[in-house]
Amino acid sequence: MNIDTSRRSFLKFLPLAAVFVSIGGAAFRFLRPKLSAATDAWLDVASVSELSGPQPISRKIVAEQITGWAITTEEHNVFVLPAKNNQVVSAICPHEGCEVAWEQNRNRFSCPCHESFFAADGSRISGPAQRGLDALPARVQDGKLQVQYISKEQATRA
């Protein structure tokens, strides 16, 4: 290989390098994921007056998250535990994120996916889940029970 040919083959990489290094560098920043920002709004769950009894009460809340270019509205199931001073727990199983259901006749929450079971107070009984159901930050305002929604991933990090 003489000097001329090696110079030629080197030069062929010049535009490749220019285009790929500059656009490629920008591409990393361009594609880098943006973390979702949960709006920290307090969401109405129920009137305190209608919460009583030993059974967990199923409720739906509609939470907003800023995800990418949209504000995403999503409905989530939660359970109010009147027996535990109206604590509110997320219905999302802390194992892999399926939604648990309340089994009234067996007095437990059960996860339909991998058979994790939780007691009426949300604590873990058995199964692959490593912790009880996640409690959501709650408060009472003007006779209304309100919560802030946090996802399973946020609860895991906390």
């Binding site: 010049l14 220019a18 270019w69 504000i71 509205t73």
Partner: protein, 422 residues
């Protein structure tokens, strides 16, 4: 093949580099862009305002397409002067095909941001198709995917722009490469000049973000749209040509010219035909483009309007990003009593099946919920409004329904609307 590797013959390198830039930046934009009339404008705003380097990537793609068109055009002229149509048919035909495909990519791509410019560009494309002789009506329907510009139209332009045309360009480039010795195709000087052109484009795009007009709903009646630089000649020509003849100049003639040029290697008197066609094309495009720039500059009102638009765009760039709202899991909708049939037939398309309003692309249709709380919106007012919306200060697309609905039907609709609550 190439005896003289002169700097003037490096157009291949420039075109190759610019095509690579278009493919790369196009793929990146597709990671955020959503081809729906609901979200196209929002996602392009998001790329411009929020995504790192987004404005630069989009600008590279926007101006890159214009530069690419110019350089492919110069490339074809260079091939002609080299008599490539006789010496290297593949190179010649590939050059002509790329020119046509790059123009098609530019035309379809302009509609995708779904801003006011895109809206007008889509309208012009619609008109050009409709004006075609014999098959015009059919061509328009096929391009739009229906009888009006709609979400289907945007999807069609998207599919053509990101799937069909790039695939065809890929096939032509591959065919060109495999039928020619690579060494002859892309020499060291091609590499140097291609790199230089890319660097200039990269700096240009850093300094100049790609233009982005207001959404159609926000664009005033005085908004002046302009096409991309590579179509200014067509835009200017259409000013002089009456009605349907525009399609002849904009679509049929360029098509015939490209077809003749592709067939050139097999035609006798090649030089004469190609020389006159190309010469005519070059002169026409150069004159019309120049006239277009000059007439925009000279007319002081036009110049002032462009200055206002530029200022509005600059102001828009400094406003925070305004996200869309989407619903992931089903949320319980506002249940209200069933809408009257005539409401569903005439009103629901714009104002929503339950009066929740709608957004069709940049057009926002107001919700009717709680409308009775506003002044001049009693049942009687709404009936009168349905007959004569302008008397109530409403703008098109809201129209009078006096010719469509009876008094009783309007009253039924009005009585249902005043009950709508948030």
């Amino acid at each position: 093949m190439r005896s003289d590797n002169s700097w003037l013959r490096t157009t291949t390198g420039i075109v190759a580099v610019l095509i690579a830039v278009q493919f790369l930046t196009g793929v990146l934009l597709a990671f955020y862009y959503v081809p729906s009339v609901d979200h196209a404008y929002t996602t392009v705003s998001y790329i411009e305002k929020v995504v790192s380097s987004g404005s630069w990537i989009r600008s590279l793609h926007h101006y890159g397409s214009q530069w690419l068109t110019v350089f492919v055009f110069i490339h074809v002229i260079r091939l002609f002067l080299d008599r490539a149509y006789a010496a290297n048919r593949i190179q010649w035909i590939a050059g002509i095909l790329i020119l046509g495909l790059v123009m098609a990519a530019g035309g379809t791509g302009y509609s995708l941001p779904w801003d006011a410019r895109a809206f007008f560009s889509t309208r012009v494309a619609e008109g050009l198709m409709a004006g075609l002789p014999i098959a015009g009506g059919m061509a328009r329907l096929w391009l739009l995917g229906g009888s009006e510009i709609s979400g289907v139209t945007l999807s069609r332009f998207f599919a053509l722009h990101v799937l069909v045309i790039p695939a065809l360009i890929g096939v032509v480039v591959a065919w060109r490469i495999f039928r020619t010795q690579i060494a002859a195709l892309f020499g060291p000087r091609d590499a140097i000049v291609g790199t230089l052109v890319f660097l200039v484009l990269a700096l240009w795009a850093l300094k100049h973000p790609a233009p982005f007009g207001p959404s159609v709903a926000e664009a005033g009646a005085d908004y002046l749209p302009r096409p991309g630089a590579q179509f200014l000649w067509l835009y200017q020509s259409l000013k002089y040509i009456p009605g349907g003849l525009g399609s002849i100049v904009g679509v049929v003639l360029p098509g015939i010219v490209l077809a003749v040029l592709v067939a050139l290697p097999w035609l006798k008197r090649q030089r004469l035909i190609a020389g006159s066609l190309l010469g005519l094309g070059v002169v026409l495009v150069a004159i019309m483009t120049t006239v277009s720039y000059l007439s925009d500059r000279r007319d002081s009102r036009t110049a002032q309007q462009f200055a206002r638009q530029a200022a509005a765009e600059e102001a828009w760039r400094h406003q925070p990003f305004n996200p869309a709202t989407i619903t992931l899991a089903a949320t319980t909708a506002n249940a209200s009593a069933g809408a009257p049939d005539m409401y569903t037939k005439f009103c629901a398309n714009c104002h929503g099946t339950q009066g929740q309003g709608a957004q069709q692309g940049p057009l926002k249709f107001p919700p009717l919920l709680d409308v009775s709380a506003k002044p001049r919106r009693s049942v009687d007012d709404i009936v009168a409004l349905l007959k004569d919306p302008t008397a109530y200060g409403l703008q098109p697309p809201m129209r009078s329904f006096a010719d469509k609905l009876t008094e009783a039907q309007m009253r039924e609709i009005a009585e249902w609307i005043v009950k709508l609550k948030k």
